[in-house]
Amino acid sequence: MNLLDAVLFLPLAGFLIVLLLPREREEALRRLALGFAAATFLLSLGLATGYRAGGQFAFVTDLPWIRSPQIRYHVGLDGLSLWLVLLTTLLTPIGILVSWRYISKRVKEFYALFLLLEFGLIGVFVALDLILFYVFWEVSLVPMYFLIGVWGHERRIYAAVKFFLFTMAGSVLMLAAIIYLYTYAGTFDYVELLRLQAAGNLAFRRTEGLLLFLGFFLAFAIKVPLFPLHTWLPDAHVEAPTAGSVMLASVMLKMGCYGLLRFCLPLFPQASRDCAPWIVALAIAGIIYGALVALVQPNMKKLVAYTSVSHLGFVVLGIFTFSPLGADGAVYQMINHGISTGALFILVGYLYERKHSLEIADYGGVATPAPNLATVFMITALASAGLPTLNNFVGEYLVLQGAAQVNFRWAVLAATGVILAAAYMLWLYQRVFFGPAPDAVRAHVYDLTRREWTAMLPLVALMVWLGVGSETFLPAIRQTNAWILERSRATTEIRVELRVPLQEVRP
């Protein structure tokens, strides 16, 4: 039992204890859930300080779970998963804080499911056995389904079912691919698979590799979501309660991106490369399409939801450039998006708690009654739009730089997404916060409360830190990406790799 296991299982313990408490004691339930989430976060800080770049995985636990076929409880952490785990453990207490008053009915179930969700999400990022990964993948699906369906807005049921079915359709194909991989390799263990592959014992026929790749890819692409598989996303994000939207956008979408980097690239290098042009095209289409649709949304939450489609396009683009800069930028952008879009959803949620409307047209002049809220929103909007010194700039820059190295036209097309981001964000800000405040706004909108400040402060601080102190975060990412990219080059690029040293040898 090491620190990582503790971080993983503490939320599960919290889930069980919350379940056992009487439902009438709502305040105690909230405090308990917050206590567990906060303790998990504090423990997870130990992961960041204890993590040493070096060997492949840190904090490894490898225990047998099921004997035949052998499925192991094998978890570990590397530079890719480290920050995603921290993102999860940070956003869970924040999600509980923003739900404090917002969630007033079925309090016990809400917090129980929220902790179960955290368990599933952390598990996804640390599982090193394919079946274990699949288990966590699905385990995170169920609580989110209930969070949307029970505590969401009017069309919540439609959104929840759509969310579940889209994910399920993708994941069953992944399950088929996982089992096929097993019949081929005789193991579900990720590290073992990599070892087999390095020894040349895991070479697929071209179509076989392509189909396996697609099995995984489809599940991840739905989750990311990659255009045109994104249609579940606006529904789910808009209908979910604030905390649900935060976890969905900030963490669950990263499950897809994480899967691409963790499994698709290293295990199916040939197929990844074969498909890369198509995927890049879809990613760029998503960047532009998401931004354009966001521009014309009359609903704030939907606007933020579509910005996710656009921002996640950058992540996928970065991954499939196969360049170190692009991949580093993609991972960095995964964290950035988690912070800034999570913050946007929280702020929109704050506005909704005040005026019970998500329509931009119902607002105006909010800066007058709520100057602090306006300031925080401004910082977040600028971060999301990619202002230098704030977080998104770093990630987007790296992705664009990586893309430009491979194909300059990709970078040009993708860069329009950054321009559009400034447009939709500033226009949103202008319509909501500036101008004269209607009486309805004056009557209902008040400034940030202390609890609301507490939830936002860490996120704002991180936007700045990630924007100016990227060297805190990048080394771990860089090191992990380096070996992922080396793997992804394994079979296709041998010829190229041989050529480089030869040229150097020549005087």
Binding site: I66, A169, V172, L173, Y180, T183
Partner: protein, 486 residues
């Protein structure tokens, strides 16, 4: 065939069946002799007998081997299915009592029929000879026909019983015809001897054998409600009393699969390799028909009936794999299926109330906020039926499709898994009405479940989750038992 007088150990190998038949008769006689309506006490007696039979099944497994001149094979395979069908009967007995008392129909004959039916199913699992198998099937079936129409005054129950009886008789006839032809071709009704004969190429290519195998398959396909012989299931499950529907969807189905697997994996094993095609089509059709028809149902019993057809399809995928891995997967699947399906039916039976007034999916609206524990347990069963990890349903599907892929059935696997994604929709509908709508009138005067119902629900949930979190032991047992060597 040394002696016609059974030895002690031979009796032990048949002890579960002997206990069940004796107890069934005792229950009938007791009620007749005392004349009093002592349904509750007879229920307890039934429960005690079933627990004793469970112990007997385990004791019989400790002394594996043939019995009664090789008519009975008390091996691991038999033990596995005996435990599964007896467990199903125990769960059903637990929540039958409250249901029958509500309907004013708790009489000894119900329990006697249940015991006889369970005895027939145990015998099906352990029969090593075709005539015994047929008799076992008939014991199980005839008791089931009567159970389906147990509520005499209920017209739907009568309709269910007649339909079940007529179509069931046809199926039995098919099976018997197949057995007769097989006897003609192989000159024996012992599975071991049939296998030995069919090993010779000349016998194996006999068209008589093919016809016989096809007829036997039809007979079993009916009993497990596999396409295209599934038509009866929805009407019967809908019409039969809810606990009986629970029982029909579990015990007889598991036992029929046991018979099917034993016949096709031992006796007919030499000739069934070339038959994958038929099973393939049947498996796919069963899954598709079950799942797509379930999408349209508003009556929850009917919905669960179609779902039970779909699940027969998944097990058929394991049969199509035609390997001992596939057999083990089918066994595991059926064990998980018994818990999750009987559990779901237990909730239906509890919720339906007098005269089964509330059996629409919509009636469950808001159940989660009136009876949170019941709703949570039903969620466990439904998530297991969907195949979400950490439930038995997930590992059932996982093992089934793993066996199929190992047998090279890639397309069947992909189509089957996509089917299970479709299936998620109708199970989710139940979760939606339970959790995502405000409580409605049908849940208003609902009382908390009584002790036995609670016990059935918790036991089913425990079984479902246990098989989902610690599947190793059961799977290993199934794997060892699946190598059917007659």
């Amino acid at each position: 065939m040394t002696s016609f007088i059974p030895s002690g150990v031979e009796l032990l190998r048949l002890l579960p069946e002997i206990l069940l038949v004796l107890a069934g008769t005792v229950v009938l006689v007791l009620e007749g002799v005392t004349g009093a309506r002592r349904g509750r006490e007879l229920g307890y007696l039934t429960l005690a007998t079933l627990l004793a039979a469970l112990a007997a099944a385990i004791a019989a497994y400790r002394q594996p081997g043939p019995a009664f001149s090789g008519l009975i094979a008390s091996d691991g395979f038999a033990a596995f299915f005996r435990v599964v069908v007896i467990a199903a009967a125990i769960l059903v007995t637990l929540f039958s009592g409250p249901y029958l008392r509500r309907e004013g129909a708790e009489r000894g004959e119900y329990y006697a029929l249940l015991l006889y039916s369970a005895a027939g199913q145990c015998l099906m699992a352990s029969a090593a000879e075709l005539i015994v198998l047929f008799i076992a099937l008939e014991i199980s079936s005839i008791a089931s026909y009567v159970l389906a129409g147990y509520l005499r005054a209920d017209r739907r129950a009568n309709e269910a019983a007649v339909k079940y009886f007529l179509l069931g008789s046809f199926a039995s006839a098919f099976l018997l015809y197949g057995i007769a032809l097989l006897y003609g071709a192989a000159g024996s009704t012992w599975l071991a001897e049939i296998r030995a004969v069919l090993r010779t190429p000349a016998a194996a290519s006999d068209s008589l054998v093919g016809t016989a195998a096809a007829l036997i398959f039809v007979g079993f396909a009916f009993k497990v409600s596999a396409a295209p012989f599934q038509i009866w299931a929805p009407d019967v499950y809908q019409g039969a009393p809810a606990p009986v529907a629970a029982f029909l969807s579990a015990g007889p189905k598991a036992a029929a699969f046991a018979g099917l697997l034993r016949v096709f994996m031992s006796g007919l094993e030499p000739v069934t390799a070339n038959w994958e095609g038929i099973v393939w089509v049947s498996a796919l059709a069963t899954m598709v028909i079950g799942n797509f028809a379930a999408l349209l149902q508003s009556n929850i019993k009917r919905l669960l009936a179609y779902s039970s057809i779909a699940h027969a399809g998944y097990v058929m995928v394991a049969v199509a794999a035609h390997s001992s891995v596939g057999t083990a997967a089918a066994m595991f699947y059926l064990a998980a299926y018994v818990f999750m399906n009987v559990g779901a039916f237990a909730v239906v039976s509890y919720f339906a109330r007098q005269g089964e007034r509330y059996v629409q999916v919509e009636d469950l609206t808001g159940l989660a906020w009136r009876q949170p524990t019941v709703a949570a347990l039903l969620s466990v069963f439904l998530l297991s039926l969907i195949g979400v990890p950490l439930t038995g349903g997930f590992f059932g599907k996982f093992y089934v499709f793993k066996a199929a892929l190992e047998a090279g059935l890639v397309w069947l696997t992909v189509l089957g898994l996509l089917n299970s994604a479709v299936a998620a929709y109708y199970y989710l509908r139940i979760l939606v009405v339970m959790y995502m709508r405000e409580p409605a009138e049908a849940t208003a005067e609902l009382r908390a479940p009584t002790g036995p119902v609670k016990a059935a629900l918790w036991a089913s949930a425990f079984g479902t989750l246990f098989l989902g979190i610690f599947p190793s032991a059961v799977l290993e047992f199934a794997t060892n038992a699946a190598a059917l060597k007659p």
